[in-house]
Structures are given as C-alpha cells and as structure tokens.
C-alpha cells in the first residue's frame, strides 16, 4: 500500500473537506506553506462547525453559565453541578442527528454511547439518560423505519450499558422529514473532589490510548455532520460509526477503576474527529504540545493510513495523560477488562501538534490555532418577523369532548409507551419516576432522602413562530417540569438544532432563540453548564423547525415528599395555579389549532418570567409542605389535556367547572404558560385559601374536584377515563404495526 502525504491540495479536495477557500487561505497563512494531506484532514476535523462552533460561539458566550452550585460550565466534556454532601451531578446533551438519519440504529446507538462517555470521562458513573427524538410526518415514507431504528438503537446501547432511561421526548413534524433529530442526554454522579478534566499538565508525560481498536468507521463523520444533506445521502453511510455497548461498559468500569488509582492527570474521550480532536484539546487546554506516534495505535485493520487513523471515529476509545510511575498499574486495570492500552505519544513544551508514522512526520501544526483559536464567524442575520396574533374572535369551534379524545389520540399527544417500554427504565434500582410523568426522578444512591429530577423540553412550533419566545419557553417548560415534582431546578444543558447558519434568516432564528434562552435562564436562576450545537439540519435547502432542546436537572431534598401527576385520591380539590382570569386564553400556535384545524398561525404564548418564577416557587413549597397531593404542569393541549393526563395516570376521574359567559375552547385548550394543576384534600384546601393564598400573589382558582370514573369538562359530555386511555394508548402501536425493528 502506498500513501502519499504530499498530494497536491486542489480546490476540489479542499471543498471535499468541508473547508471554504478563505478558510484554506487562513491555513496557509498560519503554517506558511501548503498543508500535507493528513494536515488538511486534521484542519477539516478541527475547524468544521460540529467541533469548532465557529458560527455559534459568539452567541453562546452570552448565555449565563455560572452559579453558586456550578463547578464546571461549558468547555469540558460535560457540566458539573454541586448537589451537596460532597457529590456532584455531571451532565450534558448532545445531538447525533445526521448519522441517525443515514443509519438510524447505529446513529442513535452511538449517540447514546458518546454522551455516556462524555459523562464517565469526568469520573462520574452514569445514573440517568434521556432522549429527545424528532421525526418527520407519520405518513412520510421514511418515518416508521426511522422511528423503529432509532428507538431500537437507543435501547440497544443504553440497556446493554446499564443506565436507566428516565425521560425524553418524541415528536413528529413534516419539517423533520429530511433531517430527524436525536438528542441524547446523560447524567452521572461523582464526588466533587474526584472530577477529571481534559487539560493536560506536565511535559514529557505519556499520552495513553485506551479502549477499543481504531478502524475505518466514521472517517469524516464530523465533517459530514457539518453540511446539508442532498440527494447523495445514501453514499454517506460509511461515515456513520458502529457502536459496541459491551466495550463501553468495560471501558466505564476500567476508567473508574483507573481513576481511583490516582494515575490519571488528564482524560478526553475520542468522540467527533477522534484521535485528532482529543489530542489537540488536551494539549491546547494545557498550553502544551503533543507528539503522537501512529505506529503504536491499536488498529482493527491493516494498512490504515495516518489520514484515516487521525480522522477515524471508531467508538469506545479514550486518550489520557498518565503519571509515568503509575503506568504499570494502569495497564493492569485495562488488561483485566481486556481492553487495549498503548502509549501513543507524549506531551511536549513547544505547542506543536506532531504526528509521526513509519518514521515520517506526517503533520506538524501549531496546536493552539488548531484548537481553541479555530476560526470564528459573526454571521449576518436578519431578525425573524413574528406572525400576526390571532383575532380575538377567531376561535374555531368543536365539541370539547370530541376534541380532547382526538387530541389524545393524535401523533402529537398520544402515549409514548411503545417507545419507552423498549428502554430499561429501572436498572440500578433507583428510578422513582419513570417516563410518562412531568420529569424522570432517581434517588441518589447512598443518601437517605435525596433525589434528582430530569426533564427535556422544547416546543419547536413556538420557536418557528417566534424564536425568542420559543427559546424562553423551552427553558421555562423544563424548569416547570422539574418544579412539578418538587425539585429545585439546578442547571441545564442546551442542544441547539437549527438549519444552515449561512442563511441570514436561519442565523436570525439562532440568535433570537439564544437570547430567549439566556433571558429565561437568568430570570429563573437556571444556568447552562454544557451543550451542543447542531447546524446544517437541512435537506435540499429546506431547514428543520428551530429546535433548541433544553435538558434540565433538579434536586429533591426529600423524595418522600415528591409530587407525581396521577390524582392521589377521590374528592380532592383541583386548583389551577398561575391561571389568567379566564383560566386559559391563548390559542395561537396551539395543538388544538394544529391538530383539529391544520392551522399553524398566531403568535406562540408569551412567557412572563417573573410570573413563571413566582408560581413555580409557590407550587414547590406546597409540594414540600405536603399540601399538594398531585401536580402536573400545563403545556401542549392546555387544561383539558393536563387534567386528562392526571386522570389517566391514576384511573380516577374528575369534574372541572366552566366559567359562565364565555367561550370554553380557549379555556380548555389554550396554551398559556406558567400554569400548574395542583390537587389537595378538602382540609388543606381551606387551610390554603385561609393561610397561604392571601399572601401568595398568584391566581389559583379552585376549578374542579377529583372522583368517579369519568372526566367531565364543563358543559361537555363526560368521557370515561378508560375511553381516554384507549384513545391515548392506541395511536403509537397502531402506527408502528408491522414495522421492522431488526438490524
């Protein structure tokens, strides 16, 4: 085999590497000569959108990332937040959108694998996972195949690895027909004094490669993920990696064992852009150079070129800088777990990134410029124009009971049981609330009362209509879902999925969404501690709905006082906290308009952040005081859907009143923000209105009572809870009937 590192770099070759001509000029300026072939590959890996955040960095800097409890904000493998008692929760959400569309099973599986690795790289044992999935229209020819493959892939990896999936989202919209979204979240527990970082320290220390062998899979994956899709998409399958959860599980145990020996100085997983990105990041962060000898890299196949080795995205691999005197001890740990262990290089003091292969220097580049000084763009953007508000008298009519049943049976609101029953939701034995409620909750193992709540949220149709309000709403809904369990929302991770940032209107959506997220995070004291940006989610020039997914973590001091969504008993009062005078008013961008009338007009419901905080803080106190017996936040589908979900979760019916003299449609289906349904016993109801309500400054009308086997909404005909359940549970299995899950 011959490998020519010095082939002529043509404009076509530059374009194939996803680099623009001006970026290529910058490379020449930087190194004072034309790059070698391997060097071009390295630049393309480091400077693509996925790895460099070149379009988004300017705006990401505006997000609040600090707080009393924040130990580590963005910039590391994951964010780290103090949960007291010397422990921290380490978490992040990351997209695997492009590969999952090309190869759904492996794309989703390796998305889960990648995010788990980000968490245990920092010394944390993964304790919870979530997945926010967005697919095209149910009737689109690819949707069933993609749903089946992605769900099987998420389960196949997470179940085998052994982490409970405690929550997530599944949504359908035709705007995802050509670009699905797979956003994987993972969280792990670590001791605050045993967190591991990627910054290398010390000159002349061994750089050690651990884990699985390097193959040709995923070469150029990060570059592929930084471009739009065209009609040649099927040709991109080889850029998708193949996951091996068995190796990942062994890698987890081996890494945690190795960290306990004190041998690890710095550690970085090989994710996007593999060996290149991990080595450059460790060196650049520590102001050190790195020299790699590729002859030492464990390879899966013969005759791999240095170009392929540097760009391979083979999974389940780690790079570490180790204390040399502990190298033998470290090697023994990896031999026990039957994983590869090879010293592949050393740290240097010259700030160069050098790659040796068969005695030849195939790359010699300035490490800082490759890494933390990659190009950055202030892309032009145009402010999105929000749509016109609905006219006050524009209220399409429909029977309330019929509408509720149809909405519960719609792709938008139907039960996701078909999905989450394919995930192991109870492994580790700490799952207190599994999918189906407002948030997933796990107890903190080893602590008598503490628990953690997790929720993932965004309403893309709101973001499409008004990116700023939509960004605010994503944060507020996540904060609200955590609050509804009784948790203190601690911090969040953001996974920002957008179209092509080179189009000013898409960049405008991005800028506005980030502004909205920032404002909401500041107002709610809910900093962003980690995240990921996925741009170029476009096919043949058509972008996805702007989808800034927010994954949040909350702390419950005593889980015996946690709230759930199911009604807790008969004859309890139902109160609507945070209600406007007419309980529900806002139909613009609602599920009611979209699902019943195919209308996507109007403004999304605005979020009043002060109101949001005041209502949430009150609800949390009522949960912790034991006054609230069940709590559910209101979101898609409004009051009617919220109360139906509480009835279905418990099997207990309810009667909800209707205000006299106005239209019941906005009252029951409006999607006004900052609202919760809270139940309490009659005894506590009196106490609440006498002792707490006068000082609360929150409108919380008593709107109904639990009991019986039917749900009666105002003047509408009563509907049996069993009928609601049938409608709610029916759609997904029927839709997926006859699907092919095997790969």
């Amino acid at each position: 085999m011959t490998f020519n590192n010095h082939i002529a770099i043509t404009p076509e070759l530059v374009a194939d590497h996803g680099l623009k001509l001006d970026e290529y000029q910058k490379i020449i300026q930087l190194i004072g000569r034309a790059p070698t072939y391997t060097e071009l590959g390295i630049f393309s890996a480091m400077w693509n959108e996925h790895c460099s955040y070149k379009s988004s960095k300017k705006w990401l800097r505006t997000l609040p990332t600090t707080g009393e409890r924040v130990i580590q904000g963005p910039g590391e493998n994951a964010g780290v937040v103090d949960i007291g008692d010397g422990q921290a929760i380490v978490f992040k959400m990351e997209s695997h959108n492009h590969p999952s569309y090309i190869e759904p099973y492996q794309g989703a599986a390796t998305g889960v694998g990648g995010i788990l690795r980000d968490v245990f790289t920092m010394g944390a044992r993964p304790v919870a996972a979530m997945n926010a999935l967005r697919f095209g229209a149910p009737e689109h020819e690819k949707t069933k195949h993609l749903v089946a493959g992605v769900v099987a892939g998420v389960g196949g990896y997470g179940n085998s690895f052994g982490v409970p999936t405690v929550g997530g989202e599944v949504e359908f919209d035709e705007r995802y027909n050509g670009n699905i979204l797979v956003n994987a979240f993972a969280a792990g527990l670590a001791d605050t004094d045993k967190i591991f970082y990627s910054k290398a320290e010390g000159v002349g220390l061994p750089v050690v490669y651990l884990g699985a062998k390097t193959g040709r899979d995923g070469v150029g994956g990060a570059t592929m993920a930084s471009a739009e899709f065209g009609d040649d998409i099927e040709e991109k399958r080889p850029t998708v990696q193949v996951g091996d959860p068995f190796t990942e599980k062994r890698l987890l145990e081996a890494c945690l064992e190795l960290m306990a020996t004190g041998a690890v100085i710095a550690i970085q997983d090989m994710g996007a852009a593999g060996l290149t990105c991990s080595a450059v990041e460790m060196g650049a962060k520590g102001d050190l150079g790195v020299e790699l000898n590729l002859d030492m890299v464990p390879v899966r196949e013969d005759a791999m070129t240095p170009y392929e080795m540097m760009l391979s995205e083979s999974q389940e691999r780690m790079l570490m800088v180790l204390h040399p005197e502990k190298e033998a001890e470290a090697r023994a740990v990896f031999e026990k777990w039957e994983l590869d262990f090879a010293t592949v290089g050393k740290t240097t003091d010259d700030l160069r990134f050098r790659v040796m292969w068969k005695g030849e220097e195939v790359a010699n580049l300035p490490i800082k410029e490759l890494g933390d000084e990659a190009p950055e763009y202030d892309r032009p953007w145009t402010a999105p124009v929000p749509p016109k508000a609905l006219a006050a008298d524009d209220i399409p009519q429909m029977d309330v009971a019929d509408a509720l049943l149809r909405m519960l049976a719609s792709p938008a609101l139907s039960s996701r049981r078909w999905v989450y029953e394919q995930y192991d939701t109870l492994i580790q034995g700490n799952s207190l609330q599994r999918p189906g409620g407002d948030a997933g909750v796990i107890r903190v193992e080893g602590h008598a009362t503490k628990a953690l709540a997790f929720s993932s949220d965004v309403t893309p149709r709101y973001c499409e209509a008004d990116a700023y309000e939509g960004g605010k709403q994503a944060v507020a809904e996540c904060w609200r879902n955590l609050t509804a369990t009784g948790a203190d929302p601690l911090a969040a991770t953001d996974n920002l999925n957008f179209g092509n940032p080179e189009r000013p209107e898409i960049m405008g959506q991005f800028v506005h969404a980030v502004k909205g997220i920032g404002d909401a995070c500041r107002a709610l004291g809910f900093p962003i501690v980690s995240g990921n940006v996925s741009l170029y989610n476009e096919t043949n020039g058509r972008g996805i709905l702007p989808t800034p997914t927010i994954g949040g973590v909350g702390l419950i001091p005593d889980w015996s006082k946690m709230a759930r969504i199911g009604f807790a008993g008969e004859d309890q009062a139902i109160l609507l906290f945070g209600a406007p005078d007419w309980w529900g008013t806002h139909l613009g961008q609602s599920i009611y308009l979209r699902e019943m009338f195919k209308r996507k007009d109007g403004t999304p419901p605005p979020v009043d952040l002060d109101h949001e905080k005041k209502v949430g803080d009150l609800v949390r106190i009522l949960i912790r005081d034991g006054i609230a017996t069940a709590v559910h936040d209101l979101s898609d589908g409004g009051l009617a859907v919220g109360v139906a979900e509480m009835a279905m979760a418990s099997g207990i019916g309810a009667t909800v009143n209707q205000l006299d003299g106005g239209d019941p449609i906005p009252l029951f289906f409006g999607e006004d923000q900052g609202r919760y349904l809270v139940t309490m016993t009659r005894e506590n109801l009196e106490k609440f209105y006498a002792e707490i309500y006068p000082y609360a400054g929150v409108f919380a009308p008593w709107i109904g009572t639990t009991g019986g086997k039917t749900l009666k909404l105002g003047e509408a005909r009563p509907v049996a809870v069993a009928e609601l359940r049938k409608a709610h549970e029916g759609w997904f299995p029927e839709f997926m009937k006859g699907e092919i899950t095997e790969v």
Partner: protein
C-alpha cells in the same frame, strides 16, 4: 446464610442484585469475578442480569462455557442453591443447569414493564416466602425471554413441579410457552427466572413483592 454474586463482563444488574441481597440479608454477598479461581464457601450463588459478553453470540452462550461455570455446576450438584436472573437465567439454561431455552421475545423488541407472576410451586427454598398460587407484581426488562422447551421436556417440567413462576392475568411479555417465567432444575436447588425481583423490594421501587424471594432464601439457612 452466605451468598456470592458471580460477575461476567457485560453484566449490569450486579449492583442491583448486591443491593437486594445486602438490604434483605443484612450481609453483603461475596462478589466473584469470572476469572477468580475459587468461589468462597457459600449457600447461595447468584448470576445477575445484563448482557454478558455483549450477548453478541446467542444470549448467555459465552459465559455458560466459562471455567467458573464448572465450579458452579459442581456446587449445584452438592446442593448449593444457584439462582440466575435474566441474563443469569439465560446462562444457566445455556449451561444445561435448568431445562429449556430462551429465545428472542415474540415482539422482537426489548421490553421493560411490570407484569404479574403466579407462584406455581411454593415449596422450594426460593419460593417459600410466598403462598402457592399467589399472584405478585414484578418488573421485567429483557430482549430474549421467550422460554421454550420441546414437548417431552415441557411435560417433565410441568409434571415435576419445576415451573417456579408463570406470567399471570395475560401479562406474558415475551410469548414464552405455557406463560413460563421461571423454572427449577429437578432437585429444585437451581432457579432461573426472567423477571427482576431485585428491582421491587422497597418503597422507593413502588412495591416490595420481590422481597419474599430473598427473605425466604436468606433467612432460611
């Protein structure tokens, strides 16, 4: 009573099992790595759930041929109680320590949900905490729990009281023959079961129906 938990690479419910044995038995079990030369002298050996060796070959097949299984087979022959849960059951069946095989779920999908189990034989060390015919709640989480045995074996298993648990009230999650969820060997000192009683032992789990299996076993000897 002394217990040991045997761990193969890729098992992932070892921690759940160790927690259940410790919480209910009051004493942490010995944890035996598959390459350890010896299993300490114990009254109960447990193989927990997971995906040994990734289950890339037939489920449980590689672990079942591991040298430690010879020791377990020998101990079982001498009356030591052996329990395999989920992947542990698959390993025991591959090793021939319990009758029958476990095939891919009829749905072809992984399934994690709560089912009902009927206690089919309450007069064994494993099941004496329950009443004969009692129906309990229990979670399952598996991809390959579809129990099958040929007609002759099945007749023997059914005829000799070797069925330990049966899915009840139409909750069979995997299409197993005769709704079988767990089986004994002929001497009733080896049990294999698909469901996870170790994940339903305390208030935090939303119930404790799995608890009597452990309390019956551990408080006995």
């Amino acid at each position: 009573m002394k217990a040991a938990v045997v761990v193969f690479p890729g098992l992932n419910r070892d921690r759940d099992m160790i927690a259940a044995l410790t919480k209910i038995g009051g004493e942490a079990p010995a944890v035996v790595w598959h390459k350890d030369a010896e299993i300490p002298k114990v009254d109960l050996i447990v193989i927990p759930g997971g995906f040994s060796y990734g289950d890339y070959l037939r489920v449980g097949a590689i672990a079942a041929r591991s040298p430690v299984m010879d020791t377990i087979r020998d101990r079982a022959a001498h009356g030591v109680k052996v329990m395999g849960v989920c992947n542990g059951f698959q390993i025991l069946s591959e090793a021939g320590l319990v009758p029958g095989v476990l095939m891919r779920n009829a749905s072809l999908k992984f399934v994690c949900r709560e089912v009902k189990l009927q206690i089919e034989n309450a007069s064994t060390p494993f099941t004496r905490g329950y009443k004969q015919g009692q129906i309990i709640r229990c979670p399952v989480a598996h991809h390959d729990g579809n129990y099958f045995a040929d007609a002759e074996t099945l007749a023997r298993v059914e005829g000799q009281g070797q069925v330990a648990f049966r899915y009840a009230d139409g909750t069979n999650p995997n299409g197993s023959i005769n709704d079988i969820a767990g089986v004994f060997n002929e001497k009733k000192n080896v049990l294999g079961l698909m469901p996870h009683p170790e994940n339903l032992i305390e208030a935090a789990h939303g119930g404790s129906d799995g608890r009597q299996l452990f309390s019956g076993l551990l408080n006995a000897a």
